[in-house]
């Protein structure tokens, strides 16, 4: 039985590098100057603005209302589409069993019954066998 517990056999010395990175970042960011915040205009429809920005549309096509300013992301949208398809295809390629015999997959999908029969050397199909013949099962 395993319970969630704090990992103890890790190298904390390497972790100090992460802590040092945080210290440097905090020291720099705490004193960084920023201009006055502008914020979104009142009543701005952000969801619609994001949706139209994704397809390079500058004006709300339904109400004609002005959207929050943004750059266009149509090219990025198409590229991310290709990247996702490539990643999924790559994941399936990596996860596939590397046996030439496709029937292995079918056997495993069968719950292993076929494989079990083969290992036992038993030709008898389970459907044909009597449910309970009082044997030595």
């Amino acid at each position: 039985m395993s319970r969630p517990e704090l990992k103890s056999d890790i190298s904390y010395t390497k972790g100090l590098a992460a802590l040092a990175l945080f210290a440097v970042m905090a020291a720099v960011l705490a004193g960084a100057p920023f201009g006055a915040p502008q914020g979104f205009p009142d009543g701005a429809n952000l969801t619609a603005s994001i949706g139209y920005a994704m397809f390079n549309v500058g004006v709300d096509q339904i109400t004609g209302a002005t959207l929050v300013a943004s750059e266009g992301f149509l090219v990025a949208f198409e590229i991310i589409d290709v990247v996702l398809v490539a990643a999924l295809a790559g994941a399936i390629l990596l996860a596939r069993r590397e046996t030439g015999d496709e029937s292995i997959t079918a056997v495993v999908a069968d719950g292993g019954r076929e494989l079990e029969r083969t290992l036992r050397g038993d030709d008898r199909s389970e459907d044909e066998s009597p449910a309970d013949d009082g044997g030595d099962r």
């Binding site: 904390y12 970042m25 502008q38 979104f40 920005a53 750059e71 990025a76 490539a86 990643a87």
Partner: protein
């Protein structure tokens, strides 16, 4: 509005937790989670400064970051499956050669 320093500190903390995980842990699945933390630290900044400057470019871009993270995890899980099949373990320090 909350000052930007707090959001930057939060994002830096989340990012450094991710770096800490990558540096100290050896489980490949924890690696994936840590990389997700680092990506989401960037998202925090993108969304906050989108609001700060009144421009939705950052929020839209964070959506693309999420999609890219999904692609990265898909490939990462595939690699971990191969790692487990070849080494019977998901310890990243065991795979030290390019070929075996």
């Amino acid at each position: 509005m909350v000052p930007p320093q707090w959001y930057l500190l939060l994002a830096a903390a989340v990012f450094c937790i991710g770096v800490f995980g990558v540096l100290t842990r050896r489980n490949a699945l924890i690696f994936l989670m840590s990389v997700e933390l680092m990506l989401n630290a960037a998202n925090i900044n993108l969304v906050y400064f989108s609001q700060y400057w009144g421009n939705v470019t950052g929020q839209t871009f964070s959506l693309f970051t999420l999609a890219l993270a999904a692609a990265e995890v898909a490939i990462g899980i595939g690699i971990i499956l191969v790692l487990y099949r070849n080494f019977d373990d998901v310890d990243v320090t065991k795979a030290v050669t390019m070929r075996w």
